[in-house]
Symmetry: C2
Subunit: 356 residues, 2 copies
Amino acid sequence: MQEEIQQGRIRIKDIAEKAGVSVGTVDRVLHGRPNVSEKSRIKVEEVLKRIDYQPNMYASALASNKYYKFFCLFPQHKPGEYWTEVEKGVMRAQSKFNDFNISVEIFYYDPFDSQSFLKAAEQMQQREFDGVIINPTKVEVTSQFTEQLHEKEIPFVFIDSNIPELHPLSFWAQNSQKSGYFAARMLKLLAPNSEVGIFRQVVSGHVGSNQQLEREEGFLQYMKEHHKDTIIHTLELPAKNFGRQFDIMDKFFAEHKNMHCGICFNSKVFGIGEYLEKRHKKDFRLMGYDHLERNNECLRNGFVDFLIAQHPWKQGYGSVQILIDYLILKKEVMRYNYVPIELLTAENIEFYNKTN
Amino acid sequence: MQEEIQQGRIRIKDIAEKAGVSVGTVDRVLHGRPNVSEKSRIKVEEVLKRIDYQPNMYASALASNKYYKFFCLFPQHKPGEYWTEVEKGVMRAQSKFNDFNISVEIFYYDPFDSQSFLKAAEQMQQREFDGVIINPTKVEVTSQFTEQLHEKEIPFVFIDSNIPELHPLSFWAQNSQKSGYFAARMLKLLAPNSEVGIFRQVVSGHVGSNQQLEREEGFLQYMKEHHKDTIIHTLELPAKNFGRQFDIMDKFFAEHKNMHCGICFNSKVFGIGEYLEKRHKKDFRLMGYDHLERNNECLRNGFVDFLIAQHPWKQGYGSVQILIDYLILKKEVMRYNYVPIELLTAENIEFYNKTN
DNA sequence: CACATTTTCGTGTTCGGACACAAAGGTACA
DNA sequence: TGTACCTTTGTGTCCGAACACGAAAATGTG
């Protein structure tokens, strides 16, 4: 079958022949470049209307011989944490689309220090780049950066959470509210009649991330709609060494003898799981977020029952793809991209795959 | 940033310069073609060892100017059924990789008539093709075709289920046994103390598909390991108009008053769900397989509680990708590809997305 | 050593599209 | 009618890799 010519493929040359003009003219029409007479333009457009021309993107990228630089702005993190997976996705996309002549560079900010976000942004702006992937922080801070990007007409994609009013090109995230709602349904199945504990991560006294708040909101909404009488207790624990405050936790559990299930709206649930393990507390059903090695370990040991995963890998990969589609392939891009809300259990976790 | 030359990219030309030979010689070494002196070969191989050469696949595909034809052999089906989604994935891959000069053609067989499989295979063999995606039927039948493929050295990928002893290039499927095991865990959560009903699809008296059998096997294993005392009732229903045999079903439900949950190990669970709806039977928890419009409708109405999805779209897309990686990009391919075992509920189904 | 044959190797063309450049056509004005 | 200038159009080169072809070098044979 090889060595044959496929009839289906239409080239610029074919269009030129059909329209009775040269390839140069077709090229000018296709790209909306000037210096084409009305007569020629119409001839070409007629042909384009009749046929379905799909340019060979690889030939195109090859010929244009351009180089694209994408920057990422992510929170600082330790290896093995949530953002490591996002980065893996980004890097995978970079190598996968390497032949388009792209490269990606990651910048970091301290999520607990908003000045740090702007400092990193400033560093980036001293260099040239064609697109950015941003994990947004507070609106007032993020907007300072994105306004400059809008001015320079540099597209940006939000990742992991979204701020629609800053008008990103697109975003990749999970619907936090709905995922909290789903979590509530699942927790109620695990422990239908139990009081519920919520383990909050706080930084200097208040919940840092919007995501955590939105998940809790969805969770509470489900309870209001379906199980109004459920009693909920909340324990606030500092982000540093989350779950290692054994004395506070002992007290919390001792005070609520009828609380046999709980949830943690961030990826640090292993902190609680490991506490339960230390205390040999097997009668407590626990849920949390994200496919991290330490969380998975708890799942396998039975100290976490369910994890909700949000495909960080896919978010990273997808964000790069969005920029490529928009800048290089000139395709329409989806303005919103929600990752699925997935339930991981000891029984299905081995098949939660990270490949594309 | 555009218009710059990226330092990182290495071309054949660069290798030639470093090795002090011409591009022709480098090309011969890279492809293992003859007519290269030992001396030149070593010079080139030295350079290749030092650097990490990643050929520009798009330039390569462009230059080779080959055309690849892939065939699929799938079961006949009506629109909207499971296999429609697989086909969508295949077609998406075809258009996505169109610039590699590939095209895909689908052949069908009657899953209840094994002669039909071989007839379709024969039809295919009268034409030329470079790779096949096969949904295997019985081993004895499938092997007749795959042996011929091995002789001709045409690679084939199994989809939806696997027969390892026929040595496919790769396969894409869900682990049926584990997915049944997972289903059992979930059903036990839904109705912890209830007797269980299994709704089997049978054709002329016996279960047609391996997949259904393996899922049931996994299901029973979970029950044996964790809930030995669970009472299970089985109802066999013919594939034609599955779930429309109201009289038989009425009898089944009447006979088992303590049976408040059930499962159906194939994608036709909507048949049972719609029965429950007609009978206004809200006290029965039902599980089934696959993201089909009629199943989703049952999920939304509350007559099916959980669906297990198996990414048919991804299986189709992935199978084409395997053939491309192997034949065109000459990459190592994964020999086994399991799709995740995903739980769909009314709360998360809207985010079960089919995009890549 | 002359000549034929085989092996080795470099050059040139090709793929489809982007873009530079030059040639041709058109218009304006003295 | 000639010249200047702008618009329109076609041609040629390039991107990176594949492969055909022919030249050069090595080997074989009488």
